[in-house]
């Protein structure tokens, strides 16, 4: 047993080394730069709070992230709930369809959305053709477009998380509720929903944290007009070479995400999501 543990530990070594070299070291470097560039001290952080442009970016990021999280979690819950109620065959097909987006590059997905949503795109074309609208709608290169793209990106993750949680729930509990006289709506509100809270909390946390630092989709579907933190940081580094701003903002983002995750993990609902349920 001890031997096995030692071997197991040894096996994690290469991966750990890679992670430390490619991940932890650069992060520490960013941290260091944020308090040394251009001169040592916390001045960069003071500037951050005084910077109006950063303020706007933060507000946009929060707006998009919150909207994305709410829409993704609600939509994914509906899909996951439907999937667990399907027959085995249909469920396999549905889960496969949920997985398909994972094989398509995020770039391809973003460009596909542009094709669909732009002023002379597929959707506007169809709506104008059928006479529903007379002038094209602004569906992309704004908050709406970014949110649509992000929701689409996040949903498979959220669906799988919620599906795992929902399929863990003992279905006899629902039968018990029925035998006690509860109708479907009552069973949903009084039983399914409360028992889904751990999964919902986990999915919400995951999607929100992921959204905060999202780069590709907002960059392409926002086209620089709807600017989120990650893209803003990348512009500071690659275009304007403002390392002070980029590194301090990155550190702040990391800190905020850390605090959110830490606080969330202390909530009973999320704790429950990580505790292995006893098998019946």
């Amino acid at each position: 047993m001890r031997n096995f543990k030692r071997t197991a530990l040894l096996l994690t070594l290469p991966a750990s080394l890679v992670a430390i070299c490619l991940y932890a070291a650069p992060i520490l470097q960013v941290l260091a730069l944020s308090v040394t560039e251009p001169k040592p001290g916390l001045a960069n952080y003071q500037n951050l709070f005084a910077n109006a442009a950063v303020g706007r970016v933060v507000v946009t990021t929060l707006k998009v992230s919150i909207m994305t999280t709410v829409l993704t979690v609600v939509a994914s819950y509906i899909v996951a709930f439907a999937i667990i109620h399907m027959s085995a065959g249909l469920r396999r097909v549905s889960l496969f369809l949920v997985l398909v987006p994972f094989w398509i590059s995020v770039l391809v997905r973003a460009f596909s959305w542009i094709t669909i949503l732009r002023r002379r795109g597929v959707l506007n074309g169809a709506l104008m053709e059928t006479g529903v609208i007379s002038s094209p709608l602004d569906l992309v290169y704004n908050l709406l477009g970014v949110t649509i793209g992000m929701v689409h990106y996040m949903m498979p993750f959220a669906i799988l998380l919620l599906y795992a949680n929902l399929s863990d729930i003992d279905r006899r509990i629902m039968q018990a509720a029925r035998s006690l006289g509860a109708r479907p709506a009552t069973i949903f509100w009084r039983v399914w929903l409360p028992l889904s809270l751990p999964g919902l909390a986990l999915a919400t946390l995951f999607v929100f944290v992921f959204s905060l630092g999202f780069l590709v989709t907002p960059a392409l579907l926002g086209a620089g007009k709807t600017l989120m933190i990650a893209e803003y940081i990348s512009v500071q580094i690659s275009s304007t070479s403002r390392w002070d701003l980029a590194t301090s903002l990155s550190t702040m983002l990391l800190l905020v995400v850390g605090i959110i995750v830490f606080a969330a993990m202390r909530s009973p609902a999320l704790r429950a999501a990580f505790v292995a349920r006893p098998q019946q």
Partner: protein
Amino acid sequence: MTLLAIEDLAKTYDKVTALTGINLSVEAGEFVTLLGPSGSGKTTLLMSLAGFTTPSKGTIRLDGKDITHLDPEDRDFGFVFQGYALFPHLSVANNIAFSLKVRKWEKARIDARVAEMLSLVGLDNLAGRKPRELSGGQQQRVAIARALAFGPRILLLDEPLSALDRMLRETMQKELKRLHRETGVTFVYVTHDQEEAIAMSDRIAVFNHGRIVEIGPPRDLYKKPATHFVAGFLGENNFLSGHRADDDETMVEAFGTRFSAPLQPRERPGDVLTIWVRPEHIRLGPAPGDGIGFRATVVENSFVGAVERILLRTSTGEQMVATLRSEAHSEYKPGQVVECRIDPAAIGVLPSE
């Protein structure tokens, strides 16, 4: 008065026949047990009664009204599930109150009923606990209280005690009997434990391969089983082969002796028969007495507490078990030849299969 009538019920899954030709009627206030080996269809019948499984054929009537296709939530049957299936997010009190809230009872009435149910199952001081903070036996009581709270027409129980250890199981058997007596609710109880069935039921329906083999009070099924299956499933039994004597049609020859036995007229001389005799009905020792006498050799003698189990070999080479009260019997040693006696009334004869 017949409360529940099951008429010619059948259930088939794709290829599996889970139930066929089930006829059973349950009187109001009765304690009926569905007993049978694993896979014999007990749960399928219980789920059909509860409305969770739709029968392929047949009718279920409650008070003469056809309820075969009624939704489970409209049946007013209590159900106690094998794993209890308590609501993990609700306290004990709220688990019990669930059916009452669904029925929109007034708050004061719900509180009174919950308190009544809690004291009925002896959990007064645990009202605020969550199910995961209870022991198995306590969870079981909550499940029963929850199922009884709204005053069900019938309480259906699917192997409610199978997860408990032996001691607790015996306590809970008594507890269930008491609840049955005190509430007057009709119980339909599923188990594969024949001792449990015998100890608790007014009547037992014995299942095998999706059919009811026999129905009757435990005493009748134990003492006068009509089938080989029931004779072997209920209690311990010895099966020996015999045949009808050629020279006297009222006599049976078996295990090296001959005796008169209740024979069916359709059995002819020479017919092979199965004789059964319960271990507790075999008496050992030279003590004079009437009954069927024969000789056997002791093969093994094992002490199991209150009784002693003695494995015997008859002169025909068959083995049988005798159980004797442990007193001075330890003198039976392997290899010893003993005189045995059986009261003719305790012997059963079945046509051989």
